[in-house]
Subunit: 321 residues, 2 copies
Amino acid sequence: MVNLFRTIERDMKKLELKLKEFLRIPVPLLSETGLYLLEAGGKRMRPIFALLAGRLFCGEENALFTVAVAIEVVHMASLAHDDIVDDSALRRGRPTLAARWGSEAAVVTGDYLLAQAMQLIYGLKNRALAAMLARTSTEMCRGEICQIQAAHDTGQSIYDYFYKIRRKTALLLSMSCEAGAVVAGAAGDEARALRQYGQCLGMAFQMVDDILDIEATKEELGKPVGSDVRQGVITLPMIIAMSGDGAEAARLRELLARKEKSAAETEEALALIRRSDGIPRSREAARRFVARACQKLPLLPNRPERAALERLAVMGLTRRH
Amino acid sequence: MVNLFRTIERDMKKLELKLKEFLRIPVPLLSETGLYLLEAGGKRMRPIFALLAGRLFCGEENALFTVAVAIEVVHMASLAHDDIVDDSALRRGRPTLAARWGSEAAVVTGDYLLAQAMQLIYGLKNRALAAMLARTSTEMCRGEICQIQAAHDTGQSIYDYFYKIRRKTALLLSMSCEAGAVVAGAAGDEARALRQYGQCLGMAFQMVDDILDIEATKEELGKPVGSDVRQGVITLPMIIAMSGDGAEAARLRELLARKEKSAAETEEALALIRRSDGIPRSREAARRFVARACQKLPLLPNRPERAALERLAVMGLTRRH
């Protein structure tokens, strides 16, 4: 396990170099916006899972890193576009690309990065991977669209929420795990187990994100708390908190349905959610998804990477940012 | 030739049906925005060329229509995103998608359509086509980025202009011709000839567009004249008009460099360009590109489709919208 952590650390350094190299684009604006997205950091969660999944099957390193880079670049592209969609001014404590360079530049940067990721994946000459990327992109858009359409809609069910976060978050993490395994030559049932692991984990991760957006501090998040409430994105803790019969649930429904909320109203809504059982019950739901993810692991080779996948899954539940 | 025109007409009807079917998306907002883009019409220039190129080699109809639909969808996706980039309020006489549904919806619609086009192309299991699409998308983004960066830059050369329109317009038309040929099983040198034909023709088409934006009427264009001048997009007639030593060229340089222009200043700039030799010389340049396009045709099978490709090329020079 110690050796594995050393490998992961080395992999992460190599990944940063490869990403930087990849984003050395001979078009001034694009290299600036690309590097800006890169330097915003993030957890590089998706490539870590892709590399671990690939290493579990002793995959060839070059192809594995190509997949890892491509997936992180797809993620960066989606961030560039989501920030236009979300109209967010801050991400990870810094102005978003759209806020700094304008939506035009953010749109084209995202388009360019996605096209480049497609080219990377094609280069591997693996049809399954290319099809996976196209399918995942399509579904990610559907998730984003649902989020736009369902904004301020307090009638959403838990099912609607799951539909949305599965597409918005879980599928790309799922693809990361599956693609790492596929490029490393895993068998069909092993790749499927990793896909399911990644999907359950992605669901749990998004739930934790949605919880943190309500109960973390601004410092922990790197952006103001309550952005979901402000933007009318209805998340699981809110759905649960709104489901009661009492006056507080009714008041919360009223507040969340408003398209324009004052700062005081946002605070009031946050306080109502925090006082309800929305957060503990959402945590419990996330915990169940992590457990389901881990249930898939015994189908995989018993190697240190498998233990790492289990540990990362559990760690995701207690993170604060 | 008469039979061929009947075939083209039938193909166009079939294409409309296929596009409509393709855009019957089970996500309410997406099916609305998709159909809106579809109903905006347009000339369906790219699929016509793809179908003609494919029919020239007696290609199988299903695969050919898949390519034609995918390429038109890529074009629609780029329009959805360009309208955000261009900040245009009208396209083909109607509000743009971004103006009507907001940039968020326009971004996701474009992303979704592109992902769907990728899926269509993958379905053909032809690696050359998939790689072509990824490469073309990448270069189209570069063209768009150049346009953003070079806005209001009156120091641009004719070379800069060619670099930009090649990527913005010519490559997708070039891909249409090449992809139609490839999917129909054309030989390498025939596919190449069609790629070059499409590229020269695409250059000419964009030049004619840029000329019309200066000298057509609002009714012909379906949008206000002079949008390039207003948005600071420097086109060939402007570059030529600015290149003189006289006072009018100097005044034009001064006007075009301004980021904010009054309506009177826009009119003044348009009048200066119209009075210069920018338009006749740009027409001559477009004519030369059409001639170069047609020079590639003798390399292709001598069939009615080839004559149609020649006629379409020449007709492009005299269109008024």
